[in-house]
């Protein structure tokens, strides 16, 4: 418990700052930009009415309702929310699991009467607590925005599920960063490392979007949870959910093994 509380105290400032950034982006996107975007619907409809029917169909795709829906716009904004959320999770993971390595004080912690697995668990739990609190707030604000902005029928369950995508993505990235912290010999900068992880995930996700190769989606962490599908059908796709869970659990397991069994050399 002492390690858990110590770690929470060390990460709370960073967690609060990142939560504020995430919420600010969410509010700007869904409370400021979306209403402006939605108000342009009539003009787009009028413009499309002047197009030949075939052209209009190709331009719009399936339906204007979907494009101008709250869920459709949220899905567009989610890419940026997930990028910020991923950087936050990476900051927490690197900060928690590489803290002693960076401060060269691993000896201090590892000569305390506590099993390494308990130290690892306390750190993981502190990170998880920060992510849960952030996402509880995110979920609440997101839900309130949904209720205020949704023009069609309210489907609260779907909105909650879609908002949960951020939490699940953050768990994946948290596990990735914990693993990097455990295996890297040196972590010079938490923020630099976190940016690299966040943008690394963004590039993998963009790669899938550009090449449209289905197999690439398994390594595109921000596409494991399709928020658009969550809004339209109230579900995520099982193969990608399973992949996300497998990646998270295996990386946390590997991190724990390394953390518990590695030699701590003198600095």
């Amino acid at each position: 418990m002492n390690v858990y509380l110590f770690e929470l105290r060390r990460i709370w400032k960073s967690a609060v700052s990142w939560s504020a950034i995430l919420l600010a982006l969410l509010i700007v996107l869904m409370a400021v930009v979306y209403p402006m975007y939605y108000s342009a619907r009539a003009e787009v409809e009028a413009a499309l009415a002047g197009f030949p029917p075939q052209f209009a169909a190709a331009f719009v795709g399936v339906s204007l309702d979907r494009i101008f829906s709250y869920g459709g716009f949220y899905a567009f904004g989610y890419l940026y929310l997930s990028l910020l959320g991923a950087i936050m999770a990476a900051v927490l993971g690197l900060d928690l699991f590489a803290r002693e390595k960076r401060a060269k004080c691993t000896d201090f912690l590892m000569t305390k009467p506590m099993r390494r697995i308990h130290l690892f668990a306390a750190k993981a739990l502190a990170g998880l607590t920060a992510l849960i609190l952030t996402n509880a707030l995110f979920l609440l604000v997101s839900f309130l925005l949904y209720r205020a902005q949704e023009q069609g029928t309210l489907q609260p369950g779907r909105a909650v599920l879609a908002s949960g995508a951020l939490f699940f993505t953050q768990l994946v990235i948290f596990a990735v960063s914990a693993c990097i912290a455990a295996y890297a010999k040196k972590i010079r900068s938490t923020s630099g490392g976190a940016m690299a992880i966040g943008f690394g995930g963004f590039i993998l996700t963009a790669l899938h979007s550009i090449l449209e190769e289905d197999a690439l989606r398994y390594i595109a962490p921000y596409k494991y949870f399709d928020v658009s599908l969550a809004f339209s059908e109230g579900r995520f796709e099982t193969p990608y959910v399973v992949t996300a869970a497998a990646v998270t659990i295996s990386l946390l397991f590997l991190s724990a093994v390394k953390y518990c069994t590695s030699d701590v050399h003198a600095v």
């Binding site: 401060a103 000569t111 009467p113 030699d263 050399h265 003198a266 600095v267």
Partner: protein, 291 residues
């Protein structure tokens, strides 16, 4: 007298590189046991294996009769450790670090923290990163002793401490020892070990080459002698002198034997200057153990 630390054929390899080989030693309850050897000899590797910071390749290591790896938690609750170089978390005051350290032990450590801080003249409210090397070391000392451990492991503990503080530190360790703590004191400075220890193990290239009482080590103490004469020195010979080099009017040698015989012999020479110093450990190994 029961052994607090026991190792049998304790071996550690880092890949193919030698750490320690077949280290066997027994530190008895209530003694101050010195552990000396040159840098890279294996002192820290032995200590880090005892503390379960690194995992042994083979052999046995027990503290308080318990296995160092399997019973690590029980053992570490009664062990205080002070490394040669101390590093702590960024942006923390000494008191916060010490409170965090104390939170791992099931006892109220605050009175002891205050007592030690007062003795060492340590400002507990200062941020550790703003402290001098010596003051950081003091934080390390308080951190290692705040839970009144039964076994104190010191790995090159005096680096960074000024001579006055070294004296305070040695007094403190002696006091802890008088109150029942066993001490393992690792150093590459022979005089430090001679000053405080009851027995000493000497480690070289990963192997313990001798374990003896400090009193015996003193008897066989070696000195490096440098003489400057008024005139060029001729052939120089003296019973007990080895590694003799004559360079013009300068004579250097390692002397092991009766000091009176040495003084008697050199007083016959036309001297300008005499230096009698403690030889480096390497020199002792070279001239005493190898030969």
């Amino acid at each position: 007298m029961s052994a607090v630390i026991e190792t049998e054929r304790l071996t550690k390899y880092y890949g193919k590189a030698r750490g320690i080989i077949d280290v066997g030693m027994a530190v008895n309850e209530g003694e101050i046991f010195g552990f000396i050897g040159p840098n890279g000899a294996g002192k820290s590797t032995t200590i880090r294996t005892l503390l379960s910071l690194i995992h042994k390749t083979s052999g046995e290591a027990r503290i308080f009769g318990m296995d160092c790896e399997k019973d690590k938690v029980k053992i570490l609750s009664e062990v205080g450790y002070l490394p040669g170089e101390v590093f702590y978390y960024d942006n923390m005051r000494a008191i916060d670090l010490l409170k965090y350290s104390a939170s791992f032990y099931r006892k109220d450590c605050m009175p002891r923290i205050k007592e030690l801080a007062e003795l060492l003249q340590l400002d507990l409210l200062k941020k550790i990163e703003d402290m001098s090397l010596g003051n950081k070391k003091k934080v390390g000392i308080v951190q290692g002793l705040l839970h009144s451990p039964k076994l104190i492991i010191l790995d090159e503990p005096t680096s960074g401490l000024d001579p006055l503080m070294q004296r305070t530190f040695f007094d403190l360790i002696r006091k802890e020892n008088e109150q029942g703590a066993t001490v393992l004191f690792s150093s590459h400075i022979l005089s430090e070990v001679q000053r405080i220890c009851d027995r000493v193990a000497i480690i070289k290239e990963g192997r313990i080459i001798s374990t003896q009482k400090i009193a015996d080590l003193r008897q066989s103490a070696y000195k490096r002698v440098s003489l400057t004469l008024k005139e060029p020195a001729g052939d120089f010979r003296l019973s007990g002198a080895t590694d003799i080099t004559v360079d013009g009017s300068h004579i250097n040698f390692i002397y092991g034997g009766d000091c009176n015989a040495l003084l008697g012999a050199i007083s016959q020479l036309p001297l300008i200057n005499v230096d009698i110093t403690e030889p480096e450990l390497e020199e002792i190994f070279l001239h005493y153990y190898v030969e």
